[in-house]
Symmetry: C2
Subunit: 246 residues, 2 copies
């Protein structure tokens, strides 16, 4: 049977997952496209899928076939995906030794890119402030290219969190345009956290004050700053290299 | 006098600049927001501005005041800017020694980010293939954060162009996931070009075959690739460092 009505109850319920509050209350989120569906399935998080009629996707989860019109309703993009699904949120894992802390990142594309780069450069856990854009936002998920399922991500009040991990001997690195250390020249600690601030305003002052060291990326002085996703990725890339050669 | 009609001839003409063909035929383009306006003005490229009523911007160029409705018509974003302007396209400069070649980059945000990073890491000229997204697209311009006015950018048929610069002793670096050299370990040539391919498909084969060396970025093997803007920026960052220490 193919669901053809956009007012079908299951479709209406599923569409509510476009809203952050509903994602939080149900502890689940919407994913689009084969790539994300496969990653969720591999991690045993996939609850249910909706497949566009005339397509064939056989996964061992409840499967609904839907018309083009219904798929359009479920999707958040202009192009109509072949499959969308509902995934459980991931269970929190242990912190590990290498953390990235995000203080109020607002652009979904930047956050998704940062998640992807964090996995590439061996971050164990990403810690996001409650005012950072939701990691389960569809634009964020798309930009992660599936890496959302490959890295531990937790939401915390940052001031408390940073004070706690400092007691546990993590070294805290922030960023600073003036007066910091070129990231090329640092000696990295065996347990650390890198803190990245908001795109326009940087770290909040109370967080900045908690940092042990400040880093910068050397660049042409006609350029004020890099894109936040790029700057974070370069720092992660360089810190990964230092860590490996420790 | 304030222009209040969206059917005003000057407004209609200016709006045509949202179309690439019209930008090409008039050799000019539309810019939005104070930052880009200032950069265009400093480079003597600003032709004319449109200022939102009740705002005051005094620059030595023809200035039109417009209503909110007209500004909305001129703008390409949801938020209404305080000022939009028409800028001449830049005049082509000499190539210099350090080139970035873009083969069919399609995402405007990626291209803008790459332009910004290119200036940060001291590229002299960016060479784009004719099928790359237009550098004067509004989303590209926004992502450059004004850097469009600080770097030489030219459009060329890449195969011919690369063959020409090879005769002139430029060394051509491409990218490859397998079988290349870690960018950390290269010795960089005094005249070079880095070639970056399309987001999904990489470099076209005929271009790839023209490369002298292939580079890769070391990363976690669960990750297939980085965002194109990030990967390009990391390569540029590392190559700039090698170049400086040559």
């Amino acid at each position: 049977m193919i669901i053809t009505s956009v007012s079908n109850n299951k479709i209406k319920e599923t569409c509510k997952l476009k809203d952050k509050k509903y994602r939080n209350s149900t502890n689940s989120f919407l994913i689009e496209g084969k790539n994300l569906i496969e990653e969720a399935y591999k991690k045993n998080l996939l609850k249910e899928i909706f497949v566009l009629e005339d397509n064939n996707i056989t996964l061992d989860v409840p499967t609904n076939y839907v018309s083009k019109e219904v798929m359009k309703k479920l999707s958040t993009t202009d192009s109509i995906p072949v499959v969308v699904g509902v995934s459980h949120k991931k269970i929190e894992e242990e912190l590990g030794n290498r953390l990235l802390i995000l203080d109020n990142i607002q652009d979904p594309g930047n956050l998704g890119t940062i998640i992807r780069s964090s996995k590439a450069f061996n971050i164990d856990t990403i810690v996001v402030s409650p005012n950072t854009v939701d990691i389960y936002n569809s634009k964020v998920l798309r930009a992660t290219e599936g890496m959302i399922f490959h890295i531990n991500i937790i939401v915390r009040e940052l001031e408390t969190f940073i004070n706690d991990i400092k007691k546990d001997n993590y070294i805290i690195y922030g960023t600073k345009v003036d007066g910091g250390t070129n990231v090329k020249n640092i000696e990295i600690s065996s347990k650390y956290a890198l803190v990245i601030g908001n795109e326009g305003n940087g770290m909040s002052l109370n967080i900045s004050n908690l940092c042990d060291h400040y880093l910068y990326i050397k660049m042409n002085n006609e350029v004020e700053s890099l894109n936040a996703g790029v700057a974070t990725s370069i720092l992660l890339y360089e810190m990964d290299d230092k860590y490996e050669s420790n």
